[in-house]
Amino acid sequence: MKVHLLHADHDTPREVAETPLREDLVQDLGLETLFDVMASGDAFLHEVARTVLLQPLTEPDAIRYRQQVLHDSLQRPEVVRQLYQVATDAESSPRSVRGWSLGNYPSGILNRAVSVLEELIGYLRQLRALTDEHAAEFGSPGFQGFFATVRQNLDFDYFARLEDHLKRLHFRGGLYLTARLDGQAQSAGLVLRKPAKERPSLFDSLQLPRRGEYAYRLPERDEAGARALSELRDRALNPVADASAQSADHVVAFFSALRWEVGFYVACLNLADELARRRLPVCFPRPEQADTPALQTQGLYDVGLGLRVQEGVVTNDLDADGCTLVMLTGTNQGGKSTMLRALGCAQLMMQAGLLVPAADYRAGVAEGLWTHFKREEDETLESGKLDEELERLSRLVDQVRPHAMVLFNESFSSTNEREGSRIGRQVIDALREAKVRVLFVTHMYDLAHRIATAQRTDQLFLRPERTADGSRTFKVVPGEPQTTSHGRDVYDKVFATAAQS
């Protein structure tokens, strides 16, 4: 029984390798805030959110598959949350089954397995009930497929079969088995046969031997005999105890998978609820094929910021269709980094199948998304840490494939502007030629200017907006790089003042 709510045709990996590059990505884009909101206090959901977002999809169809499931979830959130609750309860069933376990003996193992299965059947019934009540309300292929699976596999006959087994597995009517004799005239090759459902009636339990049957009754107080009989029982029960315990594990595994996949959508609902509460816009993005460098958005904002601050956030529009380079220049605290983050988050969220924090968002999928940010603890822009930057860059380049997207924030500023610009130019050129999309925030005018003068059509320059009176709006708008030094003004000012005095 497959869940297939996250992928149409395969199970999702529940783990992602924790690499330094992934750590960087989470930190640089400020994703922890996002994860926390998606988790809403549930550690399991935190893990789901993190794992799924860090394994971005690269097929627009796969993204749309999830979006459709998400769409359904937004329409019927209470059903989705109920599904999640059932799966969560079921998964913790083995822990909740208390009772004496006889350790490593088949009888004990069987008893415990039967208890767990009895509890699990309750949850399977709940799942079927939810399906019966709500399946018609879900239109996405994902949910339709899932509910169909439930209906086909957990039908009335099947539940009857399960109940039948669970009755018989108590062996109240005795054990039936066939055997052969081995070379020492011992019973061997034991095969368990179908047990009775009930304890035998009083008549039967008088156990008058029928024709063709020979009975042996243990004498009272025959302790050695009782032990021998119990060992025979254990030998007979060994395979079915194993089968039952494994079956219980398999059912739990199913609920575990269900919890994981539905959990993702519950996490999405948590996010949607919170953004709605803050009256922040969201939309279903439109993914395009990886080889189209499409990127268009309206009303985009940094979701982390949006989830942290109390007052409203700045939104931006962008049209970077066909651009392999988007460069944000200008002085600090103009909103460039925020914009970069906003783009990175939105892209990642789109590729997870999530809503994105914008009124509208359309972009080609990235075959991998990576960040190369100046380290925050480094307030000065020249720290002698060029080594570290370049080493990090090299590790990043190992992972980069064509049609990836790389976000740079004030990279190569750990050396002087001339050197940094030269390195930056080479890196940007090489990446673009390899069909990698580059988003680059820099204050290095030299770098920006030289690229701008190349007059290519596949690049876009943005800079922080200033109103007529020079104050910042914290939006970014298209604009050629401007020299940042106001040195001339200061010179003029000083010398003008001097001239005057």
Binding site: R161, G173, S187, P200, Q207, L218
Partner: protein, 519 residues
């Protein structure tokens, strides 16, 4: 024990692997010289682990004629073929298992289980016998002994007696295998009945939950201990199965009665006799693994030259190899008319070991076994006599001399031209003058008797007594006179230089002692 069938009680064609005919009487007591030559230790290690085969008499009974020796040597050569050796080892293992199974069966009270184990024992025996036959057919032995064995096996395996045993066993086994029964365990009652058409319930459970199986999970099978003997509950079950399906158990019962004595005595005898070779060959394997040579010696007649090259004392070699130490090999040779080897040289220089080695080699050839040497040509002696130091009895030096002389007289009264006499340090307790005089007399007497003799002595002069003497000397390292090499070479006797060297080594020369005592 003889088999019940009159057809093959003692096939004439197979007398055994050790003797061409069975008329040779076995000597039950250990020969006198065993202790002196350390052959007692050697044989004891051969017997270790094989006590039930009573092999000692085989080691105590030397062969008297060359052809008898050759009969065994041929078999040894065949056994050096690993295919034959493995096949025979397997057969012996099968016989051992058969005996074990019969032994266990004898202790079991419950008849059906006893008979079931008996059936298994016959099956082991049948398979073992067939296996041996196959080995001999596949590997074509050359020795008279093993060819005779092969012939015997062919006729035994095609005999009516064996045929019936094998087919009866197979038939009973088939019937037992076909037994299947149904048990109901309810409370304290077990009910036995016939099998009916039913599904495997475990498979049914697995099938039911198959739709949930995605990735493998751990196994919950318990490791249950297995008990070899039937407990009384199992016995009660089997008794009831026998009531339900009496035929196979009746067949088993008949089988046990009919084939009660099924092991052919000839094979039991062969199993025993071949152990003689196998035990010794294990020793040979160890020697070869340690880089030491072992060879099948030639047997020569009196009057011919004889000797060996790169020979060594095998008892000492076992000890040295086990301790990771080097074994020194020596040569010796006597060309007519030489009969006597006088061995002199430094104390603890390997002289006694050399003498023992000569004695041991001559005994092993008479047992038909390969000897510890690279190559050897040896006499078949009629008897071996030894005279070794019995240790100082300080209170009775006169008595010791008398004792020595009495023993020598005893030896001389029985020694013949075919005998070997090994003398190790005689007359050490009397004065030098007496020792020389008596020693010379003894050497002359032995020489007159015509026996071959190896005499280890500190009296260099004895090497010149007769013309038939050969002098051999234990050597020292020319650069370090105090170091023993254990090499014994043919050379005139050297005099007392060695004692001086040893004394210097231990700082007990006159000069050293003076210096030490002055402190």
């Amino acid at each position: 024990m003889t088999s019940t069938s009159p057809i093959l009680s003692r096939p004439v064609e197979f007398p055994g692997v050790l003797f061409r005919d069975r008329t040779v009487p076995l000597i039950q007591e250990e020969p006198d010289f065993f202790g002196d030559l350390n052959l007692d230790q050697f044989v004891a290690s051969m017997l270790d682990g094989r006590e039930n085969f009573r092999l000692a008499p085989f080691f105590y009974t030397p062969l008297r004629d060359v052809d008898a020796v050759r009969y065994r040597q041929e078999a040894v050569r065949d056994l050096e073929d690993s295919g034959i050796r493995t096949g025979i080892d397997d057969f012996c293992a099968a016989m051992r298992t058969t005996r074990e199974q019969l032994g266990r069966a004898a202790k079991i009270h419950f008849r059906i289980q006893r008979q079931a184990l008996f059936l298994s024992a016959t099956e082991t025996y049948i398979a073992g016998t067939r296996g041996l036959d196959r080995t001999l057919q596949d590997h074509s032995p050359d020795s008279r002994a093993l060819r005779a064995l092969a012939g015997y096996l062919r006729s035994y395996l095609s005999s009516a007696e064996f045929g019936k045993l094998a087919s009866d066993a197979a038939s009973v086994r088939d019937q037992l295998r076909g037994i299947a029964y149904r048990l109901r365990l309810l409370g304290d009652t077990i009910t036995v009945s016939l099998v009916r058409d039913e599904e495997d319930y475990t498979a049914d459970v697995e099938d039911t939950f198959a739709r949930f199986r995605e990735t493998p999970v751990k196994s919950y099978r318990s490791k249950l201990r297995s008990i070899p003997d039937l407990n009384h509950v199992e016995a009660q079950i089997v008794l009831r199965v026998a009531k339900l399906l009496p035929e196979p158990f009746a067949a088993l019962d008949r089988f046990s009665a009919e084939h009660h004595e099924f092991i052919h005595q000839t094979l039991t005898d062969f199993d025993r006799e071949v152990q003689f070779f196998l035990a010794y060959l294990e020793h040979v394997d160890r020697m070869r693994a340690g880089g030491l040579p072992v060879c099948v010696p030639q047997v020569c007649a009196r009057g011919e030259s004889f000797g060996a090259s790169d020979a060594y004392d095998p008892v000492l070699a076992e000890k040295l190899l086990a301790a990771g130490q080097k074994v020194v090999c020596n040569d010796f040779r006597l060309d007519t008319p030489e009969r006597l080897i006088v061995v002199t040289g430094p104390n603890h220089g390997g002289k006694t070991t050399f003498a023992r080695m000569v004695g041991i080699l001559h005994y092993l050839v008479a047992l038909g076994l390969p000897v510890p040497a690279r190559d050897a040509r040896l006499l078949l002696t009629d008897r071996i006599f030894t005279h070794f130091e019995r240790g100082e009895n300080l209170q009775d030096l006169t008595g010791k001399l008398e004792d020595d002389l009495a023993r020598i007289r005893e030896i001389l009264s029985h020694a013949s031209r075919e005998s070997l006499v090994v003398v190790n340090e005689i007359f050490t307790s009397t004065s030098l003058e007496d020792a020389l005089a008596l020693g010379t007399k003894v050497i002359e007497q032995i020489s007159q008797a015509g026996s071959v003799c190896v005499c280890v002595t500190f009296l260099d002069e004895l090497s010149h007594v007769t013309e038939s003497s050969v002098s051999m000397v234990g050597t020292v390292d020319p650069d370090d006179p105090a170091r023993r090499t254990f090499k014994v070479v043919r050379r005139p006797a050297d005099g007392l230089a060695y004692a001086e060297a040893i004394a210097q080594k231990y700082a007990v020369t006159y000069q050293s002692l003076k210096a030490r005592l002055a402190r």
